[in-house]
């Protein structure tokens, strides 16, 4: 049994493909099943949903347009999308493409709506944003924003006169020869493809209840690809490629914003890319999660190393942690930082200061002091919550420092940080899962 096969079993991942690029040579390994019901095996040429890694492709398309002079990423996006309406007109007028691509616009980031499968889907999506507010002032902090990438995708459509899917094909996938990278189900049909799964502790692995995000999510996360194609895309960004200027390529991996929580995703965000400062070395990459599939890409440019892991469910993040830690050490002597863990000697924390109701579109977080412990109740809201059997999760947050806590779900090994911080205007925020969530009301409820 390969190391990958052993590890997916340990982490209850039904199927996975691991791709490694080293010194220009690509090697791909597959293990497990694409679908636990059909029993079809994962192969190196299987397609998986790469989820939000798609955002780097969308960002690349945007910068190609900037290279050509048809887009200035620092002028308000309203110049391209005059029809864009959000709940706060003054804030809307200040949002630029750079804000959208660096997750700093403040637009509520988890606005998921199904507006059909037609070629007009992004135009229709943008029309549904009129009631959508901001979770923080424009440019004030970082909060992972799917909505912003869909709006960016619509801007790309307007500027190219193509659907986002067609623009991606014509301007990026075709020039790079990425024939096993697709966006629409009719294209997926030609390949072996993975089905997403869900895993609950003590329960058998089962098929994800809904295997496909609505088409309106396209520019934020709807690409399907083989591991080899994702590596080829990473390699193009490492080595340079004619379809993007070197200056834009460099800007994509130059720090644009520091993350309030530097442990979960990376220390900074570039344009599209997440930037990691690991062991004193510069790494870029992205993760992707869909309804039942998860993907991970890391690139160490100075070592010529790129690693991609595509999975169809289970405790994929734990698999990633274990696998990438081993591989990066072995391939280029890079030691990934230790994951954050609760302090052995818990610091004294005034929990009352942190308690309260934190809320943004898609989630409600209620924190309360329960006899010296910080108890959290996380409720998923909105259309995606309807797909979830159990949208409410009760967790305990354990302190690391007075303003940094960690928590984890049942069955997971990796701790998730929760960072409490304030913006310059004094407003209080909780940063968790890459998102900034404002405190709406103080104190225990």
């Amino acid at each position: 049994m390969t190391r990958l096969a052993a590890l997916i079993e340990r982490h209850r991942v039904p199927g996975a493909v691991l791709g490694v690029l080293l010194d220009g040579n690509t090697s791909i390994t597959a293990a497990g099943m694409l679908n636990v019901e059909s029993g079809v095996g994962a192969t190196p040429d299987s397609l998986f949903q790469i989820g939000s890694i798609t955002k780097v492709y969308t960002a690349t398309l945007a910068l190609q347009l900037a290279d050509e002079g048809s887009l200035d990423i620092d002028v308000p996006i309203a110049a391209v999308l005059p029809e864009l309406r959000l709940a706060e007109p003054h804030a809307t007028a200040r949002v630029t493409m750079r804000h959208l691509l660096t997750h700093t616009s403040g637009i509520e980031g988890d606005h998921f709506v199904d507006v059909g499968r037609g070629d007009d889907v992004l135009e229709r999506y943008v029309r549904t944003c009129a009631e959508l507010g901001f979770s923080h002032p424009v440019g004030a902090t970082f909060s992972y924003c799917n909505t912003g990438y869909v709006i960016a995708g619509r801007a790309i459509e307007v500027l190219t006169g193509l659907t986002w899917d067609a623009a991606l094909r014509a301007r990026l996938l075709d020039p790079l020869g990425l024939t096993a990278t697709v966006t629409l189900p009719e294209e997926v049909l030609r390949f072996r493809s993975a089905y997403g799964h869900t895993v609950e502790p003590e329960q058998p692995v089962r098929l994800a209840p809904a295997p496909l995000l609505p088409r309106s999510c396209g520019p934020a996360g709807l690409i399907w690809a083989t591991a080899a194609d994702v590596l080829a895309f990473a390699r193009a960004h490492m080595d340079g490629f004619p379809a993007l200027s070197d200056a834009s390529r460099a800007m994509m991996r130059a720090p644009q914003v520091a993350l309030p929580d530097p442990w979960t995703l990376g220390s900074h965000w570039g344009i599209g890319w997440i930037l990691y400062d690991w062991d004193g070395r510069r790494v870029f990459g992205h993760d992707g999660a869909t309804l039942g599939q998860a993907a991970f890409l890391r690139v160490v440019p100075e070592a010529g190393v790129a690693i991609v892991l595509l999975t169809n469910g289970g405790n994929a993040h734990d698999l990633y942690e274990e696998l990438f830690r081993e591989l990066l050490d072995e391939l280029c002597g890079l030691r990934m930082p230790a994951a954050l863990a609760p302090a052995v000697e818990p610091p004294a924390v005034a929990l009352g200061e942190l308690a309260g109701l934190y809320e943004r579109v898609g989630v409600r977080i209620e924190l309360a002091d329960r006899g010296g412990r910080l108890a959290g109740r996380l409720t998923a809201t909105g259309p995606l919550a309807e797909l979830d059997d159990d949208p409410v999760e009760e967790v305990e947050l354990l302190p690391v420092t007075p303003n940094v806590f960690v928590t984890r779900s049942d069955g997971e090994e990796t701790w998730t940080p929760a960072v409490f911080y304030a913006l310059d205007d004094g407003s209080r925020y909780l940063h968790m899962g890459g998102r900034a969530t404002p405190r709406i009301t103080e104190g225990s409820r």
């Binding site: 079809v40 059909g116 070629d119 009719e186 030609r190």
Partner: protein, 458 residues
């Protein structure tokens, strides 16, 4: 044991026949009385090497039209549709180029391919839920091949219009209507109309014969959303048998639910129009069904389905309670179906019509009388006398179809050999069966009938 229930025999036959054609995979399903056997052979996809299994879904192309016709007849049963009422009564915005057709076209014309509307309208209307509505709105300049009701010409466009009629009368998309009113009540869970419904299953990929006579993966999903009602269903062969059983059991599903009245089941297989070409393999058309009626042989009903890279055939002998389904993901399906179905039908004393063949001695006929140019929107044929026969140049003029075809198939030069002054035979390709071509007049116009289509002389 009846040969019709001998799984091993049919599996061997299917595999043998598949070896003789370029297509990579096939499923054969046979229902005789209460026994069903299903045989799978070959590959679903030459790129992934995935095998065909009995659960593999295949696009069944135009067999879908009989499902759409059944949905229309359910509306008749429900009192929501009168087949002889003008379409405009239901779709007030309906308009085509010909004024009389706009005014007088009925669902019966559409079901029986007698509207005269150019049948191969190939414009695309996107993948949205408004695709059929947009298709119908885009028909304002759709022309006629023949006058309304004057003759028979196979008409995909008409079935799309019929699909839109179903959408309006059911208040849902055609895709939702076929699920709610047929697939779900039939228990046909291995059937779907949209790629996102089927990508999670084993689906046969399309293939065509390429260089070296080897099958090659066709690099496109061929199904256009707006063509759904005319050919958009993707189904496992056993699910097609479920649909066949509905018609064999008088409109009742396996679980006893009545989905269609006995009167509608009977009406669908009554001859509604006689085909101009008696040797096309089909003698008449019913409401949806192709019919074969000959004296001294049991009647057959059925339908074929052809895309560029998928071919399907459903043939039913109601008197013998026998239904046959063959689905193939490449070229050569006709030859396979001919052998397999002749063999199966012989077991119950039924048969397929005899194929046409070139004459032993070519008769001396007036070729100039029929030479000329004949055309539909999609194809143009130029016929020129050459000795005792006609040289024919067939050119695909519809751009969307032409784009999908290899150069060799965009234009084909064929030879028409006379059997009489009005009937000729032609072989569409090496090793392919000979087919009939008939010249005739209707309503003062001259036509060439071939491949189920009337091509009007220009």
């Amino acid at each position: 044991m009846s040969l019709l229930a001998d799984q091993g025999y049919w599996e061997r036959r299917l595999k043998e026949l598949l070896r003789g054609v370029s297509a990579p995979g096939a499923v054969l399903a046979i229902q005789h009385r209460d026994a069903v056997i299903t045989c799978a052979a070959g590959r679903a996809n030459l790129a992934t090497r995935a095998p065909v299994t009995t659960d593999t879904l295949f696009p069944i192309a135009s067999i879908t039209k009989v499902y759409t016709a059944t949905l229309a007849m359910q509306l008749v049963d429900d009192g929501l549709l009168d087949l002889d009422e003008p379409i405009r009564a239901y779709l007030p915005e309906f308009q085509v180029a010909d004024e009389r057709t706009t005014r007088e076209l009925t669902a019966r014309h559409l079901l029986t391919h007698t509207s005269g509307l150019d049948g191969d309208k190939e414009d695309t209307y996107g993948r949205g839920d408004d695709a059929l509505e947009r298709f119908v709105a885009g028909c304002a300049d759709l022309g006629q091949i023949h006058e309304l009701g004057a003759t028979f010409s196979y008409c995909n466009s008409g079935y799309v219009i019929l699909g839109r009629l179903i959408e309006v009368l059911r208040g849902k998309t055609w895709d939702a209507a076929i699920v709610d009113h047929l697939l779900a009540p039939l228990g046909a869970t291995s059937s779907g109309t949209l790629p996102e419904d089927v990508i999670w299953r084993s689906v046969a990929a399309p293939h065509q014969t390429g260089g070296d006579d080897q099958a090659e993966l066709l690099d496109a999903w061929e199904l256009e959303r707006s063509h759904g009602p005319a050919g958009g269903l993707v189904a496992a062969a056993e699910d097609v048998l479920r649909f066949a059983r509905l018609h064999l059991r008088g409109g009742v599903a396996d679980d006893g639910t009545r989905l269609l009245s006995e009167a509608s089941v009977a009406a669908m297989r009554q001859p509604a129009v006689t085909l101009p070409d008696p040797d096309s393999g089909t003698t008449h058309w019913g409401l949806g069904w192709e019919l074969v009626r000959r004296t001294g042989a049991p009647d057959l009903i059925g339908h074929g389905g052809d895309l560029l890279g998928h071919h399907a055939q459903l043939t039913i002998c109601p008197d013998a309670d026998l239904a046959l389904v063959l689905v193939v993901n490449g070229d050569g399906a006709d030859r396979m179906a001919d052998v397999l179905f002749r063999g199966a039908l012989a077991e119950v004393g039924a048969s397929l019509p005899d194929p046409v063949a070139p004459p032993a001695r070519t008769p001396d006929v007036d070729l100039e009388a029929v030479a000329g140019t004949y055309a539909t929107i999609a194809v143009q044929a130029t016929l020129t006398p050459a000795g005792d026969r006609l040289d024919a140049r067939f050119r695909v003029v519809a751009e969307r179809i032409a784009e999908l075809l290899p150069d060799s198939q965009r234009e084909r030069r064929l030879v028409l050999i006379p059997l009489s002054s009005t009937q000729f035979v032609v072989q569409p390709g090496d090793d392919e069966p000979w087919v009939s071509a008939v010249f005739y007049e209707s309503g003062g116009e001259r036509y060439l009938h071939m491949g189920l289509r009337a091509m009007r002389e220009r």
